[in-house]
């Protein structure tokens, strides 16, 4: 197994996630795309951890923290989407253009 193959997979997932973040109209799906990107990053971290044979396992520890923080982020994000829905009765991000200038 080469390091390249894992990193390429992670890169692809990251790019897909980016595509989803910009393309999707539903706020929840935008969050989901962000999750995809984070997963890609995790994969990157762990691959390099293995590649470098790190004694401190920095990569794996980082990815654990990323998972925890991602979970927290999704929780808050959903709460925010909920609030937006309550006020605007829509979850369509195109409607969220109050900062238009």
């Amino acid at each position: 197994m080469t390091i390249t193959q894992f990193v390429l997979v992670a890169t692809a997932l990251f790019s897909l996630g980016l595509y989803g973040v910009i393309t999707r109209r539903n706020a929840v799906l935008v969050l989901a795309s962000v999750e995809l990107m984070l997963a890609a990053v995790n994969l990157n971290m762990v691959s390099f951890d293995t590649y470098l044979q790190d004694q401190l396992h920095a990569g794996q520890m980082m990815s654990l923290f990323i998972i925890a923080l991602a979970a927290a982020e999704v929780g808050i994000g959903i709460a925010i989407i909920l609030m937006i829905y309550r006020n605007l009765h829509t979850a369509d991000v195109d409607e969220l253009n109050r900062m238009k200038g």
Partner: protein
Amino acid sequence: MTVSVADWFSEAANWAFLIIALPTLFAGWRTVSANNIVRAVLYLVVALAGTAALFFMLGAPFVGWTVVLVYIGAVIILFLIGIMITRAPLGVETELSHPAKVRIPVGLLSVVLFGVIAYATVDSFSNTMLEPFEPTATADLSNLLYSRWVIPFEVVSLVLLAALIGGITLARRDDPEDRR
């Protein structure tokens, strides 16, 4: 240590890698392009599961199980709840993405991004093989977590606490007494 392409295909582990990676990528693709919202989220499940499997392959079982438990177990549930609460169109095919006018340039952007990073990667690492490794023992991880990484650990726990409180505060319905 490098490997040639021919040798790569002769390793069983690499075949296993391909069997896991390709569906993962496909699932990722469907997550961002499906027009059925529930299916999009469920495709995300598959993608996450795929990454968990890859973690196992990389000798990080603990992380892999954590992904399964936390991501697939909890986060996806949150997504589904979010879909439900925002009364997204369930079960029907709707336009969940921006029109092609937006999709094509963005797609181009993604492809270019991928290309650039891939190029950088291949240029740097090309055929370098991973050294033989043992799967990481959870005990080692826990030792590290509570020694070397104890401060980030504590901070993250505080973040979770904050997120917990914040989430509850944000999502609370106004009580009748607040509406005086």
